[in-house]
């Protein structure tokens, strides 16, 4: 992809540009990146149109969950409510209204409880971010050493066992594991709480006690989320390290008589980590997403449940806001990954080294 879209050919550009602040490489890269950013706009637009279409074409109205089949609520009352929410206007008009509001970063009010969507999202974001970041850190903390150690001795016992271990994590249905862990650690052993994020007496705790309380509650959700995510990063780390360790400069370093530790960490890991970092860039949008099943089982008021409940209740403003934000973040993640790829491409690095 890189080579097809940005051809840095060694046969071009042979005239000198004396004392230019920008090197050719930078200009070419900048134009590439700008083109990428511009390419995001139609994608974002398409995302919102498709989501809007799906939400509205799916049968059901926001007023259903509570009001249909409630004998106290007449048809006229329901119709009046639909009109109040603007649901009786044609689709493209509704979309245009949504678009103009969103352009002003006004996501409107939720149909479920008439609160500003932004408020609802901001309320739930911290806990989701906390869980995702903790889970990511845990994954990195385990997967990177695992991958490196496996790469150093590929095909041996440790490699095989760790592979199977991470794959078990990847293959287990998380909701099943969650229920089991709760039943084991929460009911039988009574070591951990069953659900929730805070104890009932949270308000009366001092701040240290509060942190500990929250940590205690998050052990299972973070642990289970991490267990499922180990496979991706550890396998990637492993294959990246295997490739790096086969490079010439590693052999050179070893031939030079450097201690294995230095070879591994200073030369190997630095280069091996690069692809992993770019992968991390791609998982930025996932940081605000919540796993709806885990959040339901652990009673965590997070983004996943917000989204699921909004979809089921046809709460259009919330759904559209979340899809849009998710789309923007995905674009950003892709963007940063592209930037990282660009800088990591060996041709560019080699070119930079030569011009130094």
């Amino acid at each position: 992809m890189w080579s097809a879209e940005c051809g840095v050919r060694s046969t071009g550009l042979s005239f000198p540009i004396p004392h230019s602040p920008f090197r050719i490489r930078d200009i070419v890269m900048a134009s590439y990146l700008i083109r990428r950013v511009l390419g995001f706009v139609p994608v974002l637009f398409l995302i919102t149109v498709i989501s809007f279409g799906i939400m509205h074409l799916a049968p059901g109205k926001p007023t259903d969950a509570a009001m249909s089949f409630n004998p106290k609520v007449s048809l006229e009352a329901r119709q009046r409510l639909e009109k109040l929410y603007g649901l009786d206007r044609p689709l493209h008009v509704q979309y245009a209204q949504w678009l103009s509001r969103t352009a002003r970063v006004d996501f409107g009010r939720s149909f479920l409880d008439d609160r500003p969507v932004t408020e609802k999202i901001v309320e739930r974001l911290p806990i989701t971010l906390t869980i995702n970041v903790c889970s990511l850190l845990l994954i990195l903390g385990i997967a990177i050493p695992l991958g490196v150690t496996a790469a150093v001795r590929p095909g041996r016992w440790f490699d095989r066992v760790s592979t199977v271990f991470v794959f078990i994590g990847y293959s287990t249905p998380s909701f099943w594991l969650a229920l089991f862990c709760i039943a084991l650690f929460g009911v039988t052993l009574r070591w951990l709480p069953i659900s929730g994020v805070h104890s009932l007496d949270y308000e009366a705790f001092g701040s240290v006690h509060r942190w500990l309380d929250m940590g205690w509650h998050l052990i299972l959700p973070v642990g289970i989320a991490a267990f499922g995510g180990l496979a991706g990063i550890s396998r990637f780390m492993r294959s990246s390290m295997v490739e790096v360790l086969q490079q010439d400069y590693i052999r050179t370093a070893r031939a030079k008589g450097l201690p294995e530790r230095r070879v591994l960490f200073h030369h190997g890991l630095r280069n091996g980590l690069l692809p992993v970092i770019t992968i991390l860039g791609l998982s930025v949008p996932d940081l605000i997403g919540g796993a709806v099943i885990a959040e339901t089982i652990f009673s965590i008021p997070g983004m996943g449940r917000l989204f699921y409940e909004a979809v089921m209740a046809r709460d259009y403003p919330v759904v559209m806001a979340l899809v849009t934000i998710g789309g923007v973040l995905t674009m950003l993640g892709n963007f940063f990954a592209d930037v990282a790829y660009a800088y990591a491409d060996p041709r560019i690095r080699v070119g930079a080294a030569e011009s130094r």
């Binding site: 059901g60 089949f69 609520v73 409510l81 609802k120 308000e203 009673s299 046809r314």
Partner: protein, 545 residues
């Protein structure tokens, strides 16, 4: 010889005192404590859903309803014998012609900010209920109101365009404070998340998706509730909710029949909880599309009624925790017709009825058919209801026994309502109704209520029943209404627009430390302010700020 009696000697007195003290110490403390309720403790309630709006006229989901019921009162309420009694209203008078109801409010009801609850608040509540800009779905119950007048701060007169008996029930709606809300936009006000009520409990805080906390109102007009705090925990998963119960994480919840029967028999539950059962005010039924040529013949419907073994369904799916239904009223309702005997399963009679309607197994393939087409239909029900799913599967199996081929489809709720019910694109549906105590069934069975989106989606139209339904609403005379609704019950049972299956039991479970909890036809919560936990058994000692 005269012996002067100087009374028990000191030593004897001390002995008696010692014996009394020893007895008091040895006796189970509950014997002494039970007689005197003490304040304190908190009750933790588990709920699947979170509340959305804490205002009575806007509360549509059950969680909001639970909370609002403790923060606000209506003018009237039901007592444990299902009689209408005064709540905020001390007394009320219905005029002879049935067109006006005059309520007299009690003098000592106060809002949680100290202001008295007055007739102005009642009128304000009505104004907002019928305000077209307020997102309230409850306006239809007040359509027939002509005016609401404030005669004096404690008296309200409501005038109707025509007599409307269900009106009394409509005035059980929580009354909202005029002085706090008159300048607010009710749809978006902060009040919805920080309500100020007048009921037995005061609002403390709401952590979205997690917890709602209420505290006892010391100035409540009946008496201060004994339980200090009410903690409403939101636990969206059924399995997790049950596991919390197993670790004393929650004190009050509702059990499924399976949980009641099989999972709560152990010694731990017996020690820590008390289980209750009482018939709920709803029923599960099979509704037929009466426009469909197969179901327009009443004999087919009656035959299906006879082919289904309802007791087996109750025993198998509800573990016996329910009763057979013969109509839309449970036995506890005064409108229930006790002369109607539920039909037992009678397969030969069912087959005979079907044969009369032209359905027999002509081609010997095991299924009934007529004019070459087999008797096959799809039974729809909604996603998310375990009990209904199992009932559908049992019905499928039972009807197979008479040669009727039933297919089951489970559909997500919104889709179900819009694509199938509203558009009448169904053969038969398996659903339930939760009805109010007032026996008015106009919206369900009157022939005018068959528009798209209305509740007579089966399309029942019987002119005599129509007449009865109209009359039943127009008189306040309970004797007359009882005759009318018993006749409606009888007619519905004969015509079988629904096959009434069963009335399930409500199965609440409460931590055993709470006393004064009694199961009545109205439920267990009617005397919630009298519940208490003896001091030595209280779990949550701290009071909220």
């Amino acid at each position: 010889m005269v012996v002067s009696y100087r009374g028990p000697a000191l030593r004897e007195r001390l002995l008696v005192l010692a014996v009394v003290l020893l007895a008091a110490y040895l006796c189970p403390s509950t014997l002494l404590a039970e007689s005197r309720p003490v304040p304190g403790d908190a009750i933790v309630v588990g709920s699947i859903g979170d509340a959305s709006r804490l205002l009575p006229i806007l509360a549509t989901d059950s969680a909001s309803g639970d909370i609002v019921g403790l923060l606000f009162n209506g003018l009237l309420k039901y007592n444990e014998r299902l009689e209408i009694v005064g709540d905020l209203a001390e007394s009320w008078v219905v005029s002879r012609d049935g067109l006006t109801i005059t309520f007299t409010l009690r003098p000592n009801a106060r809002w949680h900010d100290g202001q008295p609850v007055t007739a102005e608040d009642v009128r304000f509540t009505y104004d907002k209920l019928v305000d077209p800009n307020v997102h309230t779905p409850y306006s239809s119950s007040y359509e027939l109101v002509q005016s609401v007048e404030v005669l004096d701060p404690r008296t309200v007169r409501v005038t109707y365009k025509e007599p409307f008996a269900p009106a009394l029930e409509s005035w059980m709606m929580g009354i909202i404070p005029k002085h706090l809300l008159e300048r607010e936009d009710l749809n978006t006000t902060r009040f919805l998340r920080q309500p100020v009520g007048h009921g037995p409990y005061r609002f403390v805080r709401w952590k979205t998706g997690e917890l709602i906390e209420l505290a006892a109102n010391p100035d409540y007009f009946e008496h201060r509730p004994y339980i200090d705090r009410y903690l409403y925990r939101i636990i969206p998963d059924q399995a997790t909710l049950f596991l919390e119960l197993l670790t004393n994480g929650i004190d009050l919840s509702s059990l499924t029949p399976l949980q009641y029967h099989r999972q709560t028999g152990g010694p731990f539950i017996a020690r820590s909880y008390q289980k209750f059962r009482y018939p709920s005010f709803g029923f599960t039924y099979i509704g037929y599309n009466l426009q469909d040529h197969r179901f327009s013949d009443a004999r087919v419907r009656r035959a299906i009624n006879q082919a289904i073994d309802k007791q087996a369904i109750i025993d198998g799916v509800l573990y016996g925790l329910g009763a057979m239904a013969t109509g839309p009223y449970p036995k506890e309702s005064w409108a229930y017709n006790p002369d109607i005997v539920p039909t037992r399963q009678d397969l030969p009679a069912a087959r005979a009825l079907l044969a009369e309607a032209g359905w027999t197994d002509h081609d010997g393939d095991g299924w009934l058919d007529r004019d070459g087409a087999p008797l096959r239909f799809t039974l729809l029900t909604n996603q998310g209801n375990e009990v209904r799913r199992q009932v559908a599967e049992l019905v499928q199996q039972q009807l197979k026994g008479v040669g009727i081929d039933v297919k089951i489809r489970i559909i997500e709720w919104s889709t179900f309502v819009h694509e199938f019910i509203d558009k009448r694109r169904f053969d038969a549906v398996l659903l339930g109704w939760n009805l109010s105590r007032d026996p008015d069934l106009y919206d369900l069975f009157h022939s005018s209520k068959t528009k798209e989106g209305e509740y007579n989606f089966v399309g029942y139209a019987d002119p005599e029943v129509d007449q009865l339904l109209v009359e039943g609403r127009r008189t306040f005379d309970q004797g007359a209404r009882q005759r009318i609704y018993r006749e409606v019950h009888r007619r519905l049972y004969e015509d079988q627009p629904y096959t009434f299956l069963f009335v399930p039991d409500a199965l609440p479970i409460v931590a055993s430390r709470f006393r004064n909890v009694v199961a009545t036809p109205i439920g267990i919560g009617y005397n919630f302010i009298d519940w208490y936990a003896p001091r030595e058994e209280q779990r949550y000692k701290r009071l909220s700020q």
